[in-house]
């Protein structure tokens, strides 16, 4: 049973395109996150949602738009892709943002390559 799943695992696309990454968790968690891990391996939070409500919105370009249709899903849509968007994107979930010390469960990652 996969706890946090992401699709696709690999995404290769050209500059200027629009793409989406999907994430689903079957843990019953209330909070979901998107992280970006760049080539230097820094893992940086982009967004978090708690019960479908946006809680954290870090300084990311507004070309990135998260969408949470329900608390088990958090999708990431990226418009007008740029070379600098190439990275591995991880979805994660945790039990409750208000008790933020709970551990986070990460998906397998989506490696995005923009050419």
């Amino acid at each position: 049973d996969t706890a946090v799943s992401q699709t696709p695992k690999y995404l290769v696309t050209q500059m200027g395109n629009d793409k989406s990454i999907k994430c689903e968790q079957n843990l019953g968690h209330d909070t979901m996150y998107w992280y970006k891990q760049d080539s230097k391996k820094f893992l940086k939070i982009m967004f978090s949602y708690n019960n479908k409500e946006l809680i954290i919105n870090e300084t990311v370009p507004n070309r990135f738009s998260p969408k949470s249709p329900d608390k088990a899903h958090l999708n990431l849509h990226i418009n007008s892709l740029e070379l600098g968007d190439s990275a591995v994107y991880f979805c994660a979930s945790s039990q409750d943002l208000r008790a933020i010390s709970y551990e986070q469960y990460f998906g397998p990652g989506t490696r995005l390559t923009v050419t």
């Binding site: 946090v4 391996k41 933020i100 986070q104 469960y105 990460f106």
Partner: protein, 111 residues
């Protein structure tokens, strides 16, 4: 600005020895600290959490210490095995705030 430093990019340890990884932070007063393991091509996996009022936590061969005066956490793996080879990330967080990850230390356990 808040900063997390993990001791080195890579650490080589002989099998059977204790591996010790360091996480230092500045300009931050975390409520808790977490350690994660990340294998190549995979997402991080949670290992241990220690809160600001705790000095030490253990889980099987893993031990974490947290010194809020030194602003440092040490992560120990005793009786290390080649299967322990991975990148280990420390992460700090505070109530009602986001968690911040360090860059990680690549640990190689040599057979």
């Amino acid at each position: 600005s808040q900063k997390i430093e993990q001791n080195s990019e890579a650490l080589n340890i002989q099998e059977g020895k204790t591996a010790t990884l360091t996480c230092n932070y500045t300009n931050y007063s975390p409520a808790y600290l977490q350690w994660y393991r990340q294998d190549p091509g995979r997402g991080p996996v949670f290992l241990l959490l220690i809160r600001e009022n705790e000095k030490e936590k253990r889980k099987e061969r893993l031990k974490v210490t947290f010194d809020t005066t030194l602003k440092q956490s040490l992560f120990h793996i005793t009786a290390s095995q080649p299967a322990d080879s991975a990148t280990y990330l420390c992460a700090l967080g505070h109530r009602d705030d986001k968690i911040i990850f360090g860059k990680g230390t690549r640990l190689h356990i040599l057979p």
